[in-house]
Amino acid sequence: MKYCVPAKIMKIRPYLYTMIFLLLAVMLSIAIGSVIIPPVDLGRILFGWLKGVTFSDPLKTFAFILTDIRLPRTALVLLTGAALGGSGAAYQGLFRNPLADPYLIGVASGAGLGAVLAISVKWPYSFWGLLAVPVAAFIGALLTVFLVYVLARVGKTIPTTNLILAGVAFGSFATALTTYLMLLSTGELHRAIAWLSGGASQAGWEPVLAMLPFLVTGLGTLLLSGHALNLLQFGDDQAQQMGLSVTRTRTLILLAASLATAAAVSFSGIIGFIGLIVPHVIRLWFGADYRRLLPLSLIGGAGALLLADVIARSVMRPQELPVGIVTALVGAPFFLWVLRRAKNQGYW
């Protein structure tokens, strides 16, 4: 009879801690924004919803802000953070490299190129016209991964070194092309920069719904790949000798992680540090077993990005800082602090 391994591998505590962290982050994200909603009013609104009361101003406006602005935004940021955290962990496992992040093989540069190309076209103002930029970014991201994959292939195998080299080369090329396009662009420079800095998406539920199928597919696959990633840590040879179809598995995980990252990046722009740092923090605190590292990085990434977004929204009211700046400014020192406090040496 098979059952999940208790005690050592599947301790409940890490999940409990990270879920609580996420829950707190979600609550903060809903409670804080550029308009200050007093906690008393928040409480009244919550009770009002439970009783089915209709509000009058000022509660009516507050309730509207909560449901139509903050809730969809919270959902979008949560999903984006989950995608970045989960893919980051997967990429680090795939490439066995502590510096790996979801943008290693060019997803970000490809998305940026696609987005800037779309931004330089004057689409008609319509549903599809507005969707043009995220769709172009998405296609750009996946096309880049595909090209890098094809370039890196050697016979039947895809050596990770080749992937990294091809990714860096292609990424630089795409970035250079993007910069060139931006120089040529006429009035849309500001919009391009805003997109590239992250967080420049449309409000409402549409981006969330558009992202969801790709995220579910990508992250769902990743969550099932923990054991495979563990095996890959021993190197291609040993993993294969223990029974893993290395090339096939690597392709699958790469595709899943890239799909999730591409979807996240297409609607939220390029947000750094989450994919790099969150898995490391999880690893330092809860161990390197990928069966646990992946789901925890997913949850942790969601919570971390939510916190960063809250800071981005409230630090310079009513202006909003691009989230990418907050993740860099806050993430890097935080990570250094965690590193110093880590008891395990050679945890990697």
Binding site: V35, I69, L130, G187, G199, S201, Q319, E320, P322
Partner: protein, 320 residues
């Protein structure tokens, strides 16, 4: 016999219930004159810069401006009292500084805009306010109007008129347009007989003094320089905000150097000290002048102020 009576009564009641009352009321309605019907000013329907059809039941009384140009336009046509919030970069006229801000270059706060309950949000097209922002505000149930980015002065006049219609200051807008046109005609007439057109270099950014940014063809600066009787050396370059190398600048050797980046601290003295710039005639003859770029970069009535300021720099004797 009772049955017959019952039937008659029933029929009668039914007939009475159905028609006569209606007839009375419809007669009453048709005798009402249109003048006393509850119908105020006809609703406003316009097509904005993104091709959207925007409808207002009555002129907007609570306007949020998302661009400094819009703020200037609104105040210039007398609608200043109806503006309830501005973007961070709006700073003219001085009284707008008391208005609350709702964001700026770094992004706009949808929450703050919604909380103000505006009946109109005025945006600027041409890349200043993104279509995503417009869509977001639309989805939140707000009325948004995008003023297109005007490529010519005439298009700017149209925007003034549009703003007038939207805010119920149509007459003032028209008057403003007329006065602006008069001023422009005066400039045109003075410029016409002038045969000598000096070359002008308009500087936008010189963080890298060997490769500064200037205004290219098709920009308003380019237009203004031409209309002021000058020749923009940036017109030879590609793109709207091209970089010009110091070598090209030396070859072009403009007669005038106009510092559009004066607001960022550039002064004629500093320009004189830039290595390699000393050979330029403009520096040797002292024809380096600061310029308020806001006049030119904000497509509103102050464009005409810019035109007049430019003419005074390029042809000093003309207005004395």
């Amino acid at each position: 016999m009772f049955r017959k009576l019952f039937f008659v009564l029933l029929t009668g009641t039914l007939l009475a219930a159905c028609n006569p009352v209606q007839t009375v009321s419809s007669v009453a309605a048709s005798t009402e004159s249109p003048a006393t019907a509850v119908q105020a000013v006809p609703s406003i329907t316009l097509t904005d810069g993104l091709g959207r059809t925007v409808t207002l039941a009555s002129p907007a009384q609570r306007v949020v401006s998302l661009a400094p140009s819009n703020t200037e336009i609104l105040f210039a046509i007398g609608a200043g009292a109806q503006v309830i919030a501005r973007d961070e970069t709006s700073d003219y006229p001085a009284e707008v500084l008391t208005l609350p801000t709702i964001g700026g270059y770094g992004g706009f706060s949808l929450e703050a805009i919604v909380a103000l309950h505006p009946d109109l949000v005025l945006a600027q097209g041409g890349g200043f306010n993104s279509p995503e922002l417009v869509a977001s505000l639309e989805n939140l149930g707000l009325t948004v109007y995008v003023l297109p980015n005007p490529p010519t002065l005439e298009a700017m006049y149209t925007n003034l008129e549009t703003a007038g219609v939207l805010t119920g200051h149509g007459a003032e807008a028209t008057a403003l347009v007329e006065s602006l046109k008069v001023r422009v005609v005066i400039v045109d007439e003075k410029i016409l007989p002038i045969s000598f057109r000096p070359t002008v270099y308009y500087e936008l950014d010189a963080t890298e003094p060997t490769k500064p940014y200037t205004a290219g063809p098709g920009t308003f600066v380019d237009l203004l320089i031409a209309r002021s009787g000058g020749i923009n050396i940036g017109a030879e370059l590609q793109g709207q905000w091209p970089q010009i190398s110091l070598e090209q600048l030396v070859v072009a050797n403009p007669i005038f150097i106009i510092l559009g980046d004066a607001a960022y601290g550039e002064t004629p003295e500093k320009v004189t000290q830039r290595p390699g710039w000393g050979t330029l005639t403009a520096i040797q003859t002292g024809q380096v002048f600061p310029f308020d770029d806001n006049l030119v970069s904000r497509p509103g009535p102050r464009l005409v102020d810019a035109l007049e300021a430019m003419v005074k720099l390029l042809h000093p004797g003309l207005f004395e």
